[in-house]
Amino acid sequence: MNVLYRAADRPAWGFSISRYLRNIDWILLLATLGLVFAGMAMIYSATASDPNLDSPMRYLHAQGVGLGLGLILLIGMSLLDFSWFSGMHKVLYGVSIALLLATMVFGVERMGARRWLVSPVIDIQTSELVKLLMVVALAGFLTGGVELRHRFRFVALTVVYVAVPAFLIFLQPDLGTALVFVFFLLFMLVGWGVEWRHMVALLSAGVAAVLAILRVLPTVFGIQLLEPYQIQRLLAFLDPEKDPTDQGYQLLQSKIAVASGMYTGKGFMEGTQTHLGFLPTHHTDFIFAVIGEEFGFLGACALLLLYMVVLWRILRAATQSKNLFGSLVCIGIGAVLLFQVFVNIGMSIGIMPITGLPLPFVSYGSSSLVVFLMSVGLVESVRIHSRTALYGGRFRGESYGQMAN
């Protein structure tokens, strides 16, 4: 604990621009920007031919604004010493819950879900922001409980700690984002060094809970925790041809789009599934299908490669972090990214259910873009401020080997 506080005591502004530029992870930054620009190209392709649009650049403008704001926040975050947040986890947690409650009360319903807080300046999808806030808060919470690692009660408390905001998001309803919480919780627990028996107990309880929600509660007690459409969505991917009109239709059309791209795709702006409107929500949830259709297997693999680079740099930052808090933040951010990439792309190619999770950096939507750019800023901060410490000859902190192997 002392180590951590010592690190936080060091002033955040004590180094030069040149050192900052030298320490920044350019690979991470460039890979991220590569994803964003690829995404914007695909958004343009997906929407430019929409006859309902006043200008073909409309979506691109909105996404550009998100990019600008996100870059400012990215740089801001990277300048701050991340350790500063570690003591703020209670505040961040409080803000998260407050935002979600506010969304519940004042939120605007769009397409059947109350996810948006609307202000004259910007509309925020609060769950996107809360995802990042909760990663940071949880990192702080876990760091504070390092000595309680052997206590299952603390582990259980951690679960509850994450479950509260996750449940509020689930109620919006937004099952996909709620599941993101489960995923980064598990990753961060492992990164934190949870004991294996605790982990096994947690996973068993989780499986039991899922079974209870899906089978026991509806049949025995008549309680329907999941909306029928959510279950339908979850199951449609198993056999999309069975129901080619609705959920299944979206999946089938997406699969057709991706698969018909073959090796090199049909070419930019040439995707027939995209441009003739067969592909649903092609600029948001199914943006990957546009890439698959227009740039084929090569394009899709290039995109996956960019994501792998980004994840590699994030996990590298986790191992290089001067303290546990930084590592956990990076692991959490990496987990969110990995989960969303896998679920979103998996959905487009028919191996994961439709959840409505955006593809990080690529899907249209400023909330998601800004928050993911902020996340990258935070990762940069972990790297920069750990390196400074390293080169400055300071104590690097404990090595938390679990995540490094």
Binding site: F187, V190, G191, Q253, K255, I256, A257, V258, A259, S260, G261, M262, Y263, T272, Q273, L276, G277, F278, G292, G296, F297, A300, C301, L304, Y307, M308, L311, L315, I331, G334, A335, L338, V341, F342, I345, G346, I349, G350, I351, Q402, M403, N405
Partner: protein, 606 residues
């Protein structure tokens, strides 16, 4: 460990992408194609039908059709009800057409053709949201330039029937296409039809066409040039009506149907062919209304759909005598110089046959017997034929083409009937009826009894007398031409068989026929008096008890070098001499463009 999870998840994605895009890409490419590419048929323009001089008789005109594209049809029960209402057709009609859709939901099904633009089409367009799946398309419709004209020759087109679709000749067609149903439209369908093309259209998710990917232009149908002379045909149709008026004026009020065939005895070309009553063929354009159909099939309409010239079943009456004479001479029964004393009666055993002229014709030879249409002379021939072994008369008659279809290029021709002992054995109802008796040959010799001929058969047989023995296959099709008018196929003259006839004997028959119109003793002298061109012919007054007599005339002209053979029949018109012969004269006047008219009152002879 976390890195391992990450790598595993990426490996899963990569593997799946490889499976989808590389391994199954091609089959999904097909799915993507099917999603967006629709094939829209482009109808081929049907060939134009011309008369022998190049006057267009049937052309195409553009019309609007209401169709349904099954795959876009939503809320069918409601849409069908609304559509039936707007088109004023029964709902069942639409449902029965929609039954074809299982074949291909992308293919439009034509519900009604020739729909007026105002108000129906404009209404459908304005309310298109209420009619999902209902489309308007342009189609070619037949345009009959002379209106009610040549009905039974031209025929009509209609949607191909399920039965027709099974047939080999239509194997490239599909439901909803139109084919010739009758007349030359049917006989020359394969030439006239053409081949439809298609337009590959890319559509978006809601079916709106976005761009045309490719077009296969339709091949327009070939044009058909008929042997028909349109002006002569018009004169024929007019002459028939005049003939009916004449019959009515003569007291034969029941006369209401008739047929005329005019052909060139040199090559078998049909110059005119008419059946009365006829109707305006344009009633078939679009979908025939129930009212029209009821009118055409009504009891008192006298079957206008029926082509009497080739399908009618008539006793030939005395027009048959020249052929009986020819067979008798050819088989050397008697010399042409043989004379018969006609006292008005002919007796075989206890049975007595009367001549049409009660007092008889006195002593007649073959020439006179034909000229005066002496029945007793031919009774004598008939009785003699009965004595021969085998169907000598029948075989001879069949050589002239009786008892078999002539082979005219129109569908539905009746074969006629030349009765013989074999036929009678099968057809007779009682034992006594099954026996071929002397009387049967006697009756056959004057074209009565169980004999049935069509006007066309009589014309073909007459042409054989006129041309010296060639039994021709009559033809309506002359040439097939392409869009530029170039002849790409010429239908050749066909001779079914040649009947060898002794010149002197044939000359005797021809002289008899010429005298019919040119000597006062002749039965058609009155009808042809004053006609400047020598006509050879024969009257006939066929009995079909209990109806009024059927009036016949067959004639050819110029007698020495015949160019045209005309046969006229007026059902229940009474006498051939006073009703049918004037019809033939009218036709000849039109053909030779002479201006004289037959005298107003013609004494009915035979």
């Amino acid at each position: 460990m976390l890195v391992a999870v990450g790598l595993l998840l990426f490996a899963i994605l990569g593997f799946r992408l490889w499976f989808l895009q590389i391994l199954s890409g091609e089959s999904y490419e097909v799915l993507a194609m099917n999603n967006r590419v629709r094939e829209v048929e482009i109808e081929a323009a049907r060939g134009v039908i011309y008369d022998r001089d190049g006057e267009a008789l049937v052309e195409n005109r553009a019309g609007l059709s209401v169709a349904i594209l099954p795959m876009d049809l939503k809320n069918e029960a409601v849409v069908v009800r609304r559509l039936a209402d707007v088109l004023s057709i029964p709902e069942e009609d639409i449902w029965s057409k929609l039954d074809q859709r299982e074949n291909d939901p992308y293919r439009e099904i034509i519900i009604k053709e020739d729909v007026p633009e105002v108000p129906v089409v404009t209404y459908l367009k304005e309310h298109s949201l209420e009619f999902p799946g209902v489309t308007i398309r342009k189609s070619y419709l037949r345009n009959y330039l002379r209106g009610q004209f040549g009905t039974h020759i031209l025929g009509h087109v209609g949607e191909i029937s399920p039965e027709e679709l099974e047939r080999e000749e239509f194997r490239t067609l599909h439901a909803g296409q139109r084919v010739g149903k009758n007349g030359v439209e049917a006989a020359y369908d394969s030439f006239l039809r053409g081949e439809s093309g298609s337009r590959q259209v890319e559509v978006d998710a809601v079916g709106r066409p976005k761009r045309v990917r490719g077009v296969v232009q339709p091949t327009p149908g070939r044009n058909l040039v008929l042997t028909i002379d349109a002006d002569l045909q018009a004169s024929v149709e007019q002459a028939i009506e005049e003939g009916l008026d004449r019959a009515h004026a003569g007291g034969f009020k029941e006369a209401s149907a008739a047929a005329v065939v005019a052909l060139n005895p040199r090559n078998g070309e049909v110059l005119a062919l008419a059946s009365y009553p006829d109707y305006d063929p344009s009633v078939w354009v679009g979908s025939m209304s129930h009212d029209d159909y009821n009118l055409l099939t009504a009891e008192d309409a006298h079957k206008p759909l029926f082509n009497r010239a080739i399908m009618g079943r008539y006793p030939a009456g005395s027009t048959f005598k020249p052929f009986v004479a020819a067979v008798s001479l050819k088989t050397d029964q008697f010399p042409w110089t043989m004379e018969v004393d006609c006292d008005g009666d002919f007796t075989v055993g206890k049975q007595v046959w009367k001549d049409w002229r009660p007092e008889g014709h006195g002593i007649v030879n073959l020439v006179e017997a034909i000229t005066q249409s002496c029945d007793v002379y031919f009774y004598t021939l008939g009785k003699n034929f009965y004595k021969q072994s085998g169907p000598v008369l029948q075989n001879g008659l069949r050589e002239f083409g009786f008892g078999a279809p002539t082979g005219l290029d129109l569908p539905g021709e009746y074969s006629g009937r030349v009765p013989d002992s074999e036929w009678k054995r099968d057809a007779g109802e009682t034992d006594i009826d099954r026996i071929w008796k002397t009387g049967d040959d006697v009756n056959l010799a004057i074209g009565q009894g169980d004999l049935l001929v069509t006007p066309l058969q009589l014309a073909v047989a007459s042409a054989a007398i006129a041309n010296g023995g060639d039994v021709l296959v009559p033809k309506l099709g002359r040439w097939i031409t392409d869009a530029g008018g170039n002849v790409i196929h010429e239908f050749e003259q066909e001779v079914r068989r040649h009947i060898e006839m002794n010149g002197e004997e044939l000359d005797a028959i021809r002289r008899g026929l010429l005298n019919v119109t040119s000597t006062p003793r002749g039965t058609a002298y009155g009808a042809f008096r004053g006609f400047p061109i020598a006509v050879a012919g024969k009257t006939g007054t066929a009995q079909k008890i209990p109806e009024d007599d059927y009036a016949w005339f067959m004639g050819y002209a110029p007698a020495e070098n015949p160019e045209i053979v005309v046969v006229a029949l007026v059902e229940r018109g009474g006498h051939g001499s006073s009703v049918a012969a004037p019809v033939v004269r009218r036709v000849m006047e039109a053909y030779f463009q002479t201006e004289t008219s037959p005298p107003k009152d013609i004494t009915a002879t035979e």
